[in-house]
Amino acid sequence: MESRLIEILGSGCAKCEMLAKHAEQAAQELGLDYAIIKVKDPVAIVRRGVMQTPALVVDGRVKLQGRVLTAEHLKEYLR
């Protein structure tokens, strides 16, 4: 099984929670070995060069900023 570190950057508003939920669902459907971490600290978020939350970071690379996609669409970013 492939493994992925998935980080959801955001201060915890509804959009961030939805992104986290969809990302988890996508990872499960892809059969990945994954860990999801929610990064809420604004300093940590800025340190990644992200200014638009929610953001999706996979294995340290920022894949998506400022949008919430369905689990189906997120799969492409998690492969």
Binding site: S11, M51, T53
Partner: protein
Amino acid sequence: MVPEPSRRVLYATGALLGVAAWWLVYRSLEPFGQWLAYRILGLGRGSRAGSAVAFFAFETPKVLMLLAVVVFGVGVVRSFFTPERTRAVLAGRRESVGNVLAALLGVVTPFCSCSAVPLFIGFVTTGVPLGVTFSFLISAPMVNEIALVLLFGLFGWKVAALYMGTGLLIAIVAGWIIGRLKLERWVEPWVYATAGGPATAGTDAPLTWGERAELGREAVRDIVGKVWPYVLGGIAVGAAIHGYVPQDFMAGIMGKGAWWSVPLAVLLGVPMYSNAAGIIPIVQALLEKGAALGTVLAFMMSVIGLSLPETIILRKVLTIPLIATFVGVVAAGILVVGYVFNLVL
């Protein structure tokens, strides 16, 4: 496989037909509203209930249709801008030019108040002056495409242009004033101690038009999907005012003669928060009943430009004196605009 040129012709024709259909439906809405109220429901012409229902039946689909189109269009325009690019443009700029650019970019850069904190930190730690950052933060929520389109749809391009012009002016001047006051010491100290993040964050591949259209559609689903209850609520209130409040009732309280109407409008508006879609129908009804344009615009700007949720979010990075100054300067600007309009128009 359909060859490329005919595919494009197909899309273009489809788009033109779509626009024509939209326009036809749009033009039939007012007669529809009256038909529904007076023919179907049998309410009397000139009756208050009839008036209110016709207003509601006309305005609801009209506003939603306008919204869908404009949110889509703005979603596509926004796909050309990112906070990262805006930051790059603004970093190290001289104050006055920077304030103007920041206010203009605030209109087109995608911005959600939940990102206010990372965006603020990202800007001020990479050489964007504090005042310039504030110009951006003021214009982003206030000069709002929803507000503009609704104002245009309901009152014509002059009022919409006026709103946009004065909104930008307030953003520029308020940001400039805050910059001149040298209030960096009132930013939470840990903010400046944060080292700036990497220069780019990886998602800058150029988008195709198909992807941009998808972003437009997403924006419509997200925004209209979230906002429509407020639109309905606002139109319902507007319909009630339209049908039941006597003509010129507002002239006494919010009309030109009452000098205290502008400060009252700002005072009421600042703690209130509504999205633009909900408040515009109320604005329309107030204007119809004799409220002065300056007072009503001041009210609207205070409601959508200064929001309690956003100031609470900004409390993470701004000390209370700075928040108070920010709110005070913007409120003062809105006040001046309100008075000037009442005097001039």
